[in-house]
């Protein structure tokens, strides 16, 4: 070898060609290097820099909200996002819909042996960017490696903590007859973006996931002082499932208007192709808000003024119903039940 080896030279991770192996999870030097070069650099903040097993955080001035979510999405990279930013947005949203200001995140990774480091880097950088943009740092984390075949590349679990201001009380159990239902935008974007990339479906479809952090939008909504009963993000199972959950929790009936629900034409078309119903398709950057009727228009205006909710709409209302059904007035003038999703929604040929 020509020349001298520089003092203190440490062979860097070969991100371009390297893969995760069992040593990266063993707690030894290899793991420390993975964490240092890949994770710590990307997420860098004062709490991570403490370098301890747990992050020491300042006192929070109010009631705490904590939420956790495991992300196992496949494919890992999809139009509009990836598992990394999805895991940040998802947990921020879970905290924010409780009416809390999200403060900190933790991220735990389960890596599959053989997973390419270049993909891991891409995911971590995406997460870090999402966290930075949202202003919510990842303050602590964990890494484990499992044998090939035991994970789908990578599983990420994020946990978030936030603080709720006094007087804010959002819950799926708060809805009363007469309350109005609003949604922040078009339904079905994320689920169809994912579905179009699934193996053996191979549709060429210009749909992007709507994955986004909603806490700033929610803060603006709370600031209006509107009597908001409940906020929820309609993720797995879509709008229909989330409404059924709320109906059951609040012991009310909910009726929505099909014509009022915004669905992007290309999402509607993709659903037609596969025999899916947009009401049941996942969203990752949308929310449902239920508020007192008197405040609905005001809340809608504030939502529409926000870049993430330009297509917000009033879609229905709550009413007394001993059976807690969710019903829909079809564009036809007919009525039908909007039931819970029975199992995973799969494409059909019949």
């Amino acid at each position: 070898m020509n020349g001298e080896v520089k003092k203190g030279y440490v062979r860097a991770l070969d991100i371009k060609n390297g893969r995760v192996d069992m040593s990266h999870g063993s707690g030894g030097r290899a793991m420390a290097q993975l964490i240092e070069e890949l994770f710590a650099g990307a997420f860098d903040n004062e709490y991570l820099r403490q370098g301890n097993d747990g992050a020491l955080l300042p006192t929070a001035g109010g009631r705490l909200v904590m939420a956790t979510d495991a992300h196992v999405v496949s494919p890992l990279f999809f139009p509009g996002g990836d598992i990394g930013c999805l895991s940040v947005h998802g947990t921020i949203n879970d905290v924010a819909v409780m009416g809390a200001k999200p403060l900190y995140l933790s991220a735990s990774f389960i890596l599959e042996e053989g997973f390419p480091l270049i993909n891991l880097q891409r995911i971590v950088q995406s997460m870090a960017a999402a966290a930075r943009e949202a202003g919510v740092p990842v303050v602590t984390g964990d890494t484990k490696v499992v044998e090939q075949g035991k994970a789908d590349g990578v599983f990420i679990t994020t946990t978030g903590v936030g603080v709720v201001m006094d007087g804010v009380d959002l819950s799926g159990a708060n809805v009363r007859p007469g309350d109005v239902i609003l949604i922040s935008g078009s339904m079905g974007d994320h689920g169809m973006a994912i579905m179009s990339r699934r193996e053996n479906l191979a549709f060429d479809v210009p749909i992007e996931s709507d994955t986004a952090a909603l806490h700033h939008l929610i803060a603006a909504m709370l600031e209006t002082g509107a009597a908001i009963r409940c906020l929820r993000d309609p993720t797995r199972g879509g709008l229909a499932t989330t409404l059924n959950e709320i109906a059951k929790q609040s012991l009310v009936g909910l009726t929505i208007n099909e014509e009022a629900i915004p669905v992007k034409p290309v999402v509607a078309a993709a659903c037609e192709f596969l025999g899916l119903d947009p009401l049941y398709v996942a969203n990752e950057g949308k929310l449902i808000a239920i508020c007192a009727a008197a405040d609905a228009e005001r809340l809608l205006a504030v939502m529409r003024a926000h870049p993430l909710a330009g297509d917000a709409a009033i879609i229905g209302a709550a009413h007394a119903d001993p059976h807690h059904f969710v019903q829909m007035k079809t564009s036809f003038g007919g009525r039908r039940n909007v039931d819970w999703l029975a199992g995973e929604q799969l494409p059909r040929i019949c």
């Binding site: 060429d204 479809v205 034409p265 509607a268 078309a269 993709a270 037609e272 040929i349 019949c350």
Partner: protein
């Protein structure tokens, strides 16, 4: 039964195959069951195969039929009779 959708042929690809477009969603399908399909025509697509061309004139005729007034009304409002 048999979910099938009408889609526009956008582009011919390999012999017997074409890319169809439904509302912006594009998919390559087989034209093996349909004769003389051309770009711009619409076909009914089921499990990746075109089953038949959509007859555009008949489609118009059907839509017009939906808009027709009921037969009883037509009988009642005869040109010489009293309108109901």
């Amino acid at each position: 039964m048999c979910l099938a959708i009408p889609a526009r042929i956008e582009e011919m690809t390999t012999p017997g195959n074409a890319i169809v477009n439904l509302g912006g969603v594009r998919k390559e399908i087989s034209l093996a069951l349909v004769d003389d399909a051309t770009v711009g025509e619409y076909v009914i697509v089921h499990v990746g195969y075109a089953l038949q061309k959509v007859d555009q004139e008949e489609a118009e005729r059907t839509l017009a039929m939906f808009a027709e007034m009921g037969q009883l009304d037509e009988l009642r409002s005869e040109p010489n009779g009293t309108a109901s």
